[in-house]
Amino acid sequence: MNNIKLRILNSIIIGAIAAIIFITVITVVADLYLSLKDWLKNIFYHHWVGKGILAAIIFFISGILNFISNKNADEEKIAKNLNILIWASIIGSLMISIFFILEALR
């Protein structure tokens, strides 16, 4: 597989990792700091819409920055980043659910 295709795939993976980490962090922080939730609501009409739009923006920016800065991508790196993505999704899902359970018990 040629280097450009590897770089594109790697950048999409990096973008997805960044988006998932962002969603996890902003979900927790916005619920703990209501001023952030209010800011999201004021700018984007609804906090959840804002989280989705910002996650998409972060996906694109991270992906593009990775594509520009990483001139070489190899299959080992892609395999490693895919595993990071998998763990980020699992840990992010668990963190979000545990956070809301703890919030409900408070």
Binding site: I8, I20, H46, L85
Partner: protein
């Protein structure tokens, strides 16, 4: 007893049903992708993988938008208060809050799977590490999709008043 659904406009009913159907389509499509990624890939299989992964991606996107519109316009003002004042307020506080946020992972995960399948094509068979990792990405999507569907069922049940 009446379901909240009967107070919704026609558009909102269609959007809620679309959200469910497209979400399930996404999960089923990536389950099909996962099952095929667990076997050797050839030229014929890659055509199928391309089709199901793209179907799954668009399924999640359409589910996101249709459910999102329903959630933003209707759920917060009309359904959430009923659940929170009912017997099971935790169904909103825990299940809905979790579901609405982990769902957003899905389009990004789906795009990674689509990109890997389209860019690698049958060369995926030559790199077992990447093939297994893509299969795991599909498995994560199926798991999140299944959990979200079950949560949605509970939320709909709690919305009966």
């Amino acid at each position: 007893m009446s379901l909240i659904i009967f107070k919704m406009s026609g558009l909102l009913k269609y959007l809620l049903v679309s959200h469910i159907i497209f979400g399930l389509l996404g999960a089923v499509a990536f389950y099909a992708a996962l099952m095929n990624l667990l076997k050797p890939i050839d030229f014929k299989k890659i055509k199928f993988l391309k089709f199901v992964s793209l179907t799954g991606f668009f399924g999640f996107i359409l589910s996101w938008f249709s459910g999102g519109y329903y959630y933003v316009i209707y759920y917060g003002g009309s359904v959430k208060p009923v659940i929170k004042s009912g017997e099971y307020p935790w169904i909103h506080s825990i299940l809905m809050e979790t579901k609405e946020h982990i769902f957003i992972f899905l389009p990004f995960l789906a795009l990674v799977a689509v990109a890997a399948i389209y860019l690698f094509k049958e060369n995926l068979e030559q790199n077992q590490k990447i093939k297994k990792a893509v299969a795991l990405v599909c498995a994560v999507m199926v798991a999140i999709g299944a959990v979200s569907a079950l949560m949605g069922l509970a939320i709909s049940g709690a919305a009966v008043n």
